[in-house]
C-alpha cells in the first residue's frame, strides 16, 4: 500500500514540476516574442496566396515567395508574373490599392516548321537530344538553321505547352506562360518570345538564298519579297534572304499570309498544324 502512495506522489511531483517548467517557458517565450518580434508585411502573404505557385523563376527571381516579397517591398506594379498574366497583375494592384500596369502577354514561338517538310542527309545515330546534336555538329537535317526536333524544349517545359509534331517543335499558345525555359534550353536559338496579340509570324530562320532553301525545305523562306510588297504598314523587315515581321508595326491584317507561296508566314490562331494539314493534302493530290 505504501508503495502505491509513494507512486502517486512521484507522479504528482513530476506533473507539477513539468507544469511549472512549461509555465515558465511559456512566459519566457511570450516575452521573447514581444521583444524580438519581426515586423512582417501581411501583404507578402496576401500576394503569395494569389500567385500561381509554379516556382518557375520566369519573373526573374527564384520562386513565388521571393516575387511576393519583391512586389510588397518595391510596390512596383511593372513587375510581372508571366504565368499569372494580366489578370494577376490586376488582382495584385487591387490588393495593394495601386494602378495596374498594362503588360503584353508573350508567347514562345518556334521559328521553324521544317520537320518532315525538310530534306535530310545522312543518318544521325548519336544521343537523341538537341544539345548532343549541336555539340558535335552532326545532324541529319539539311537546313543548317532549322529545328532538330529531338525535343530538349519538350523536357524543359513545366506546362506541357510544347510538343514535337511532324518532326518539329510546336507551341500550344494557350498553355504557354512565357517562362523562357525552352528559349534557354534550345541550343540553336530557334525559339523566340513574341507578343501574343500579334498572331502573324514568319516561321523560318534560314538566311540561305532562295534556290538553296528550295532544295532542302518546302516551307522555308525563299526571300521572294512578295510579303514585303504586300504589307501596307512596312512591318516586314528584309535582310539576307529572310523576311521577319516587326511586331510593333504589324496590324494583324493577314495580307502577307495569302501572298506567301511557301506557307512560311503562319497565323498562330489558326494553329500551325492546320496549315501543315493543308500542305499534306496538297502533297497527296500532287502524287
Amino acid at each position: 500500500m505504501n508503495e502505491l502512495v509513494n507512486g502517486w506522489q512521484e507522479i504528482a511531483i513530476t506533473a507539477a514540476s513539468l507544469a511549472g517548467i512549461a509555465f515558465l517557458a511559456g512566459v519566457a517565450l511570450y516575452y521573447a516574442a514581444k521583444v524580438f518580434a519581426v515586423e512582417e508585411d501581411p501583404m507578402v502573404e496576401a500576394i503569395e496566396d494569389i500567385l500561381p505557385g509554379a516556382n518557375c523563376g520566369a519573373c526573374g527571381v527564384p520562386g513565388c515567395f521571393s516575387f511576393a516579397e519583391k512586389v510588397a517591398k518595391t510596390k512596383d506594379m511593372s513587375l510581372y508574373c508571366p504565368v499569372g498574366g494580366q489578370e494577376l497583375s490586376d488582382d495584385m494592384a487591387d490588393l495593394m490599392g495601386l494602378e495596374a500596369v498594362e503588360q503584353d502577354k508573350l508567347v514562345a514561338r518556334v521559328m521553324c516548321q521544317g520537320g518532315n517538310f525538310s530534306t535530310r542527309t545522312g543518318q544521325y545515330q548519336g544521343i537523341k537530344s538537341c544539345s548532343a546534336v549541336s555539340t558535335i555538329h552532326q545532324y541529319d537535317l539539311t537546313c543548317p538553321y532549322g529545328c532538330f526536333g529531338y525535343g530538349d524544349c519538350v523536357t524543359s517545359c513545366d506546362f506541357d505547352a510544347i510538343h514535337i509534331i511532324n518532326g518539329v517543335a510546336l507551341v500550344d499558345e494557350e498553355k504557354c506562360t512565357a517562362c523562357d525555359a525552352c528559349v534557354i534550353d534550345c541550343p540553336i536559338n530557334i525559339i523566340e518570345m513574341q507578343p501574343y496579340d500579334k498572331t502573324v509570324f514568319i516561321a523560318c530562320k534560314s538566311i540561305d538564298s532562295g534556290g538553296a532553301v528550295k532544295k532542302y525545305c518546302e516551307v522555308g523562306c525563299t526571300g521572294c519579297k512578295k510579303c514585303v510588297k504586300a504589307c501596307e504598314h512596312e512591318a516586314i523587315h528584309f535582310d539576307s534572304f529572310l523576311a521577319t515581321i516587326i511586331p510593333d508595326k504589324c496590324t494583324n491584317c493577314n495580307d502577307c499570309v495569302d501572298k506567301c507561296d511557301t506557307h512560311t508566314i503562319v497565323i498562330s490562331k489558326d494553329g500551325i498544324a492546320q496549315i501543315k494539314d493543308k500542305l499534306v493534302e496538297n502533297a497527296e493530290v500532287n502524287v
Binding site: Q125, S131, A132
Partner: protein, 454 residues
C-alpha cells in the same frame, strides 16, 4: 632498346593499316572547283581579303590572320573567286567559304615556283626571320588539333622549353600518311627539325615512333647518324592507343606529366607532328605556304593509299580521282574525316579537305557497326583504360543530371574515344563528356556572374 609507353590506360584497337601501308605518296589532280574554309585552325577565324570575281593565283593570301591566335589562309590554285558563302565544312560547322573556279593550266604553271629550292643556311638566318617564314606560310598543327604553329613556337618568356618531341606515333587505326611521309622525306623532316631547334632553342629532340613502324625507326636512326644532327634521337614506343595524344607522348618519352588545365610548355616540352615539320621545311626552303597536305584515303575504296591533296579539294573528288571510288557505293555506311577513333563522320561528300584532314576513311557495312545505347552495367572498363585517369562513367552520368559542380574533370578529357570503344553496352561516353564540357562551362559562367553580382 627499351621501349616506353604512357603509364595510364590505353587500348589496342585493330590497326587495319594494311590497306594503305607502304603505298607511295601520289598527287591528286587539281579539281575544277575548290572551296576554301576560312576557319581551318583553332582560334579566331581568318578574315577574307579577296572579293567576288577577283583573280587569284597559287599562294595568294585569301584570308588574313585576325589576331595572334589565328593563321593565314592561302590560295592553293589559280583561278577566279566565284562566290563567298556560308557552307558546311568537313567538321560539320557552317562557316564562310570561298569557292574558286580553277584555271587548271595556270595552276600547274604557277605551282612551279615552289619547286625551286632556295639556298638557306639555317645557322646564318636569324630566329625571327625563321619564325616569320613559318607564320607567313600559315602553318598549323597537322595532327588534327590545328593549333597555329607560330603561337606554339613563341611560348611566354617565363616558360623554358627544353625538349622537342616529333610526333610520329600515328596511333589512329587505318591512317598511314605520317608513316609514309617519314619514309619518303626523312632528310627533309630532319632539316625541319633543325629549323625548330634554332627557333625554340631546344636542348634535346626526341622522335617518337611506335614499334609497328620498324622501317621508319631504322631509317631515322640511320639518317640521324649520317647527317650528324646534334642532340636528336629516335624513341621507339610500344604500340598503344592513344600514344599520339600530346600529353600521352610527353609522358611516354620524358616521364613528365602535364598538369590539369596546363599546356605542354608548362613542363618544358614542345610537340610537333611530322607533317607539320615537313610543312616547316617546305616553308623555309621553298617559300611554300600550306596549299596541300599528305592524307590517307583508305577503307572501302578501290585503290587506298597516301595522297598529296590540295586544300579545298572536295572529298568526292579525292575519293574518285585518287582512290578510284568506293568498292560498292550501296554498302558504304560512313565516311570519316580523320581516323575512325577521333574523326567525325561526314554528312555529304562535297565538303573540302582542310589543313587538319589527316585521313579520309570509308567504312562499309562490315566495319561500321551501330548499336543502340544500353544501360551501364558498372563493369568499370572505361575507368581502367582512360589514358587521362578520368572516370568516364561518372562524367556521363553527371552530364545527364546536368550536375555542373562535378564536371570539372570533363575538361581534361582528350576525346580519344577509348571509353566508347571498350564499353560493352555501347554507351556513347565521349559524346556525353563532350556535352558535359558545355554543361560545365555554362555552370561556371553562372557561378562567376553570381560572384560579380555580390
Amino acid at each position: 632498346m627499351l621501349k616506353s609507353t604512357f603509364n595510364l590506360g590505353g587500348i589496342h584497337p585493330p590497326e587495319n593499316k594494311k590497306y594503305s601501308e607502304g603505298k607511295e605518296i601520289r598527287n591528286i589532280s587539281v579539281p575544277e572547283q575548290v572551296s576554301i574554309n576560312l576557319n581551318q585552325h583553332i582560334g579566331r577565324k581568318a578574315k577574307a581579303v579577296v572579293e567576288k570575281k577577283q583573280e587569284v593565283s597559287v599562294g595568294d593570301i585569301l584570308g588574313e590572320a585576325d589576331g595572334f591566335i589565328s593563321a593565314l589562309v592561302h590560295s592553293p590554285v589559280s583561278g577566279t573567286v566565284k562566290k563567298i558563302e556560308q557552307k558546311m565544312t568537313a567538321a560539320g560547322m557552317v562557316e564562310s567559304t570561298l569557292t574558286i573556279d580553277v584555271d587548271v593550266e595556270k595552276t600547274a604553271e604557277d605551282s612551279k615556283k615552289y619547286e625551286m629550292k632556295k639556298e638557306v643556311d639555317i645557322d646564318q638566318t636569324s630566329k625571327e626571320d625563321l619564325l616569320k617564314m613559318i607564320q607567313d606560310a600559315g602553318i598549323v598543327g597537322q595532327g588534327g588539333a590545328t593549333f597555329p604553329m607560330h603561337v606554339k613556337l613563341s611560348p611566354p618568356p617565363d616558360k623554358q622549353v627544353d625538349i622537342l618531341i616529333l610526333n610520329g606515333a600515328e596511333c589512329e587505326p587505318y591512317l598511314t600518311a605520317d608513316h609514309q611521309l617519314m619514309l619518303e622525306k626523312t632528310d627533309e623532316i630532319l632539316l625541319g627539325v633543325r629549323v625548330i631547334q634554332k627557333v625554340s632553342n631546344v636542348k634535346q629532340v626526341h622522335i617518337g615512333i611506335e614499334e609497328n613502324k620498324p622501317d621508319a625507326i631504322k631509317l631515322f636512326t640511320e639518317r640521324i647518324s649520317a647527317t650528324g644532327i646534334q642532340n636528336c634521337q629516335v624513341s621507339a614506343l610500344k604500340t598503344k592507343y592513344p600514344q599520339g595524344g600530346e600529353k600521352q607522348l610527353i609522358n611516354a618519352i620524358t616521364g613528365r606529366e602535364v598538369p590539369s588545365g596546363k599546356l605542354p610548355f608548362d613542363v618544358g616540352v614542345l610537340v610537333q607532328n611530322v607533317g607539320t615539320i615537313f610543312a616547316v621545311y617546305e616553308a623555309v626552303f621553298y617559300g611554300k605556304p600550306v596549299i596541300d597536305r599528305v592524307t590517307t584515303i583508305t577503307g572501302f575504296v578501290k585503290k587506298p593509299g597516301n595522297f598529296r591533296i590540295r586544300m579545298g579539294t572536295a572529298f568526292s573528288h579525292a575519293i574518285e580521282d585518287g582512290a578510284g571510288g568506293f568498292i560498292d557505293e550501296e554498302r558504304v555506311r560512313s565516311v570519316v574525316n580523320g581516323g575512325p577513333m577521333m574523326g567525325k563522320s561526314i554528312r555529304q561528300l562535297d565538303v573540302s579537305v582542310m589543313k587538319g584532314t589527316s585521313g579520309i576513311v570509308a567504312l562499309s557495312d562490315h566495319e561500321f557497326v551501330f548499336s543502340e545505347e544500353g544501360p551501364c552495367i558498372r563493369c568499370g572498363r572505361c575507368i581502367d583504360i582512360c589514358p587521362m585517369g578520368l572516370m568516364p562513367v561518372n562524367l556521363a552520368d553527371d552530364t545527364i543530371l546536368k550536375n555542373g559542380t562535378e564536371l570539372l574533370d570533363s575538361m581534361d578529357c582528350i576525346e580519344c574515344g577509348s571509353c566508347s570503344y571498350v564499353c560493352p553496352t555501347s554507351r556513347k561516353l565521349v559524346h556525353w563528356i563532350k556535352i558535359g564540357k558545355g554543361v560545365y562551362r555554362t555552370w561556371k559562367a553562372k557561378e562567376e556572374s553570381y560572384k560579380t553580382d555580390q
